[in-house]
């Protein structure tokens, strides 16, 4: 016997799912740029594919990044993904062995225990170990069920899983998750009932089967249980393409495309569509998002991506994000949430036409020098930083030219963050020409926002871009600046664009350590908080911004430092208005604590002793 009516819900569901996936995938391929299609095609036949397969195994099955976040959370996801995968693989091998190597219809391995009651000697020698499959399949099922138990516990005790808040799902997702949750208990019941009748089954199903057999009329219950199992599978497969579980087939594609060197490109495009569907709505991004403190939980990455997927993009939701990148750092799928946000904003702000024709024929700084300094708009708003940098240049005898002494042209990053890419390119080319004209080798900027865009989007023909904290660090390392140790107690705040955005964490800390005692902060480096003043957000009003700022200040000042040091004029300005402690830029601290030379430093140190 290889067919029974009860397999139909599963079989129809599976065919439906495959049909939908084929349609979706072909639409994505059709939407792709020709060059991206070539890249993807090449990647199919290169060694890169091994890397992709490895990553798919590590992330989609083992859930390595989830494990890093929280072991219990990782185990829960792994038991579902890896467990189900193993059930399918082992089930297939088992069914092949029983059928003597023939190819079976797809439902056959899934419902094997219904068709075959293991009492025979198997045809292949290696598998004649008594009860090898019965034991293994039961063990894997137990593994999946353990994850299910955790998933149920997570509903009420999410804190054990490292999640303070979890995603609030819509009704469609609830349908999908209910059927998913019921699949495995139903399988257990169906297999146990059958095992109870035929006295087959492994350690789990056999034991349960005998218990059930003693108290229940199993011959009437086994068949309905198989129907229920098949129906749950069917419901899950039919709901999958429109639920969050679409991430299962899509994440694999995303990993492949990413490894093929394809990036987001134009929005909306096939890559962004795939990214949007790769979001499992696990909710890891909710806790880290500081919009919670402003009462804007609705605009966290998970809900934002869901609104894109449901084609209900709200302008407020798109623009209410500080683009600090904390969600990017924790996302287990590695979705470029910021890129999606910029893309969505681009669509929102389509009507905004920029016109910078007035910038043509503006006077250019003629002075040539080794180093060109760009204070940036925010640098000009904090004259203390600008003055400190000039003092440092003078002290270290740097041959420099001040590019925006008479006011800067914006670097283009704010426009880019608002989704106005074309407009930002005008400013970028304008500034590039000015910078190149100075014939400098190093471009120093005081503003991490400018620094990020100089690095990412400017073509500067080999001019090295440096944030002033790195520049100062190099000067100190080369002995061109000598710093004076004070007995100040300081904390350092990582600006988003400098830390997470550009990966600069250590240089400013090292400089600061030579001046003050630097205390640790509970949220620092990649976990650093946004100051709340970010120009990434287009919508939030000052009251909400202040809530975010105050919370960040509370965490930063836990150790009650004498001074809060940062490396971003915007962070400085924002924190300064919070009145929690003295806030200074790293350049200012350095300028205030310059020793005349090494001898002077030694003398001062000795006097202190």
């Amino acid at each position: 016997m290889t067919f029974d009516l009860f397999v139909l819900p599963f079989f129809i569901g599976l065919l439906f799912l495959l049909g939908v996936l084929v349609v979706k995938y072909s639409r994505w391929i059709a939407m792709m740029d020709a060059s991206d299609r070539v890249k993807a095609g090449m990647a199919l036949f290169s060694f890169n594919l091994l890397k992709t397969v490895n990553e798919i195994f590590l992330e989609s099955l083992l859930h390595r990044r989830m494990f890093k976040r929280n072991p219990l959370l990782g185990y829960m996801h792994m038991s579902f993904a890896l467990g189900w995968f193993l059930l399918i693989v082992m089930g297939n091998i088992e069914s092949r062995v029983y059928s003597g190597g023939h190819i079976n219809p797809p439902y056959y391995p899934i419902f094997l225990k219904f068709f075959i009651h293991d009492k025979r000697v198997l045809p292949f020698e290696i598998f004649t170990l008594p009860g090898f499959f019965r034991f293994t399949m039961d063990l894997i099922l137990l593994f999946v069920l353990s994850g299910l138990v955790l998933a149920v516990i997570k509903r009420t005790r999410s804190k054990w899983f490292g999640l303070k808040r979890t995603t609030v799902h819509n009704s469609f997702d609830r349908w999908a998750i209910t059927s998913l949750w019921l699949i495995f208990p139903m399988r257990l019941l169906a297999e146990s009932f059958t095992a109870g009748i035929y006295k087959g089954g492994g350690f789990l199903t056999n034991t349960l089967g005998s218990i059930f057999d003693a108290i229940l009329p199993l011959e009437y219950m086994a068949y309905p249980a198989w129907w229920a199992y098949s129906t749950m599978l069917g419901i899950f497969f039919v709901t999958l393409p429109w639920s969050r579980f679409m991430h299962i087939p899509t994440e694999i594609i995303l990993i492949f495309l990413r490894n093929a060197g394809i990036d987001q490109g134009k929005y909306p495009g096939s890559f962004s569509e795939i990214e949007i569907r790769s979001c499992p709505r696990c909710g890891v991004c909710i806790d880290v998002c500081q919009m919670n403190q402003a009462g804007l939980t609705g605009s966290t990455a998970v809900y934002f991506i869901r609104s894109l997927r449901e084609k209900l993009p709200e302008v407020q939701l798109n623009s209410n994000c500080m683009m600090c990148g904390r969600c990017l750092e924790v996302c287990p799928v590695g979705i470029d949430t910021l890129g999606l946000r910029i893309g969505a904003r681009g669509v929102d702000n389509k009507g905004f036409a920029s016109d910078f024709t007035y910038l043509v024929n503006q006077p250019i700084v003629e002075k040539k020098a080794e180093v060109v300094y760009f204070a940036g708009c925010m640098g000009h708003l904090t004259p203390g930083v600008k003055r400190a940098m000039l003092q440092i240049f003078e002290k270290a005898k740097i041959d420099f030219t001040f590019l925006d002494e008479d006011g800067s042209v914006c670097c283009g990053r704010p426009l880019k963050l608002a989704g106005m890419k074309e407009a930002s390119l005008t400013l970028i080319s304008e500034n590039s020409a000015k910078i190149k004209n100075t014939e400098a080798k190093i471009l120093v900027t005081s503003c991490p926002i400018c620094y990020k865009v100089f690095n990412d989007d400017y073509q500067l023909d080999g001019i090295q871009v440096m944030h002033h904290s790195v520049f100062i660090y190099n000067l100190v390392k080369d002995g061109k600046l000598v710093l004076r140790q004070t007995d100040l107690k300081a904390v350092y705040h990582d600006p988003c664009e400098l830390g997470r955005g550009s990966g600069i964490y250590e240089q400013p800390r090292n400089v600061l350590k030579q001046i003050a005692e630097v205390a640790d902060v509970s949220e620092e480096r990649v976990n650093s908080l946004c100051c709340g003043g970010s120009i990434g957000d287009l919508n939030m009003d000052a009251v909400k911004r202040n809530l975010i700022r105050d919370k960040a200040l509370t965490i930063l000042c836990e150790s009650q430092p004498d001074i809060l040091v940062t490396a971003c004029p915007l962070c400085k300005k924002t924190f300064d208005s919070g009145n929690a402690t003295v806030v200074k830029d790293i350049a200012e601290v350095v300028a205030e604590n310059l020793a005349l030379n090494k001898l002077h430093k030694q003398t001062v140190d000795m006097v202190k002793l």
Binding site: D355, D406, I535
Partner: protein, 123 residues
């Protein structure tokens, strides 16, 4: 030159009347709905004083808001397109107006108005 010499470099400003009834007040309402902090503005001009674009042109957010409130939106059509969205005005604003969003909303509202005018014309 002669004229200048005659008036010692000064000129007489022509009398100008603002016809409130003929002006378009709807746009200001649309924008105020999209960015309510517009209503906080006291036209102090700090934004215009710090403006990056203002160093190169006569762009002034203060003037834009004044004209907007009067409903004289005709001359504003391409005005906010000069803004670089750098955000200095937002930081200096004593009334905490969300100036960046305001500028975007003004640009979009005027663009929409232009669009609707165009569709009316083509009809």
């Amino acid at each position: 030159m002669e004229k200048k010499a005659k008036y010692f470099g000064y000129s007489i400003t022509r009398d100008r009347q603002i016809d409130y009834d003929a002006n378009n007040h709807d746009i200001c309402k649309i924008i105020a709905k999209a960015e309510p902090t517009l209503n906080l503005c006291i036209s102090c001009g700090t934004c215009a004083a710090t403006c990056t674009a203002g160093q190169f042109t006569d762009f002034s957010l203060r003037q834009v808001i004044l004209l907007l409130r009067r409903g004289e939106t005709k001359s504003l059509e391409n005005e906010v397109s000069k803004c670089m969205l750098c955000g200095k005005c937002q930081l200096v604003c004593p009334r905490n107006v969300s100036t960046r969003n305001l500028v975007i909303q003004i640009g979009k509202a005027l663009y929409d108005k232009k669009l609707s005018a165009e569709t009316v014309n083509t009809k």
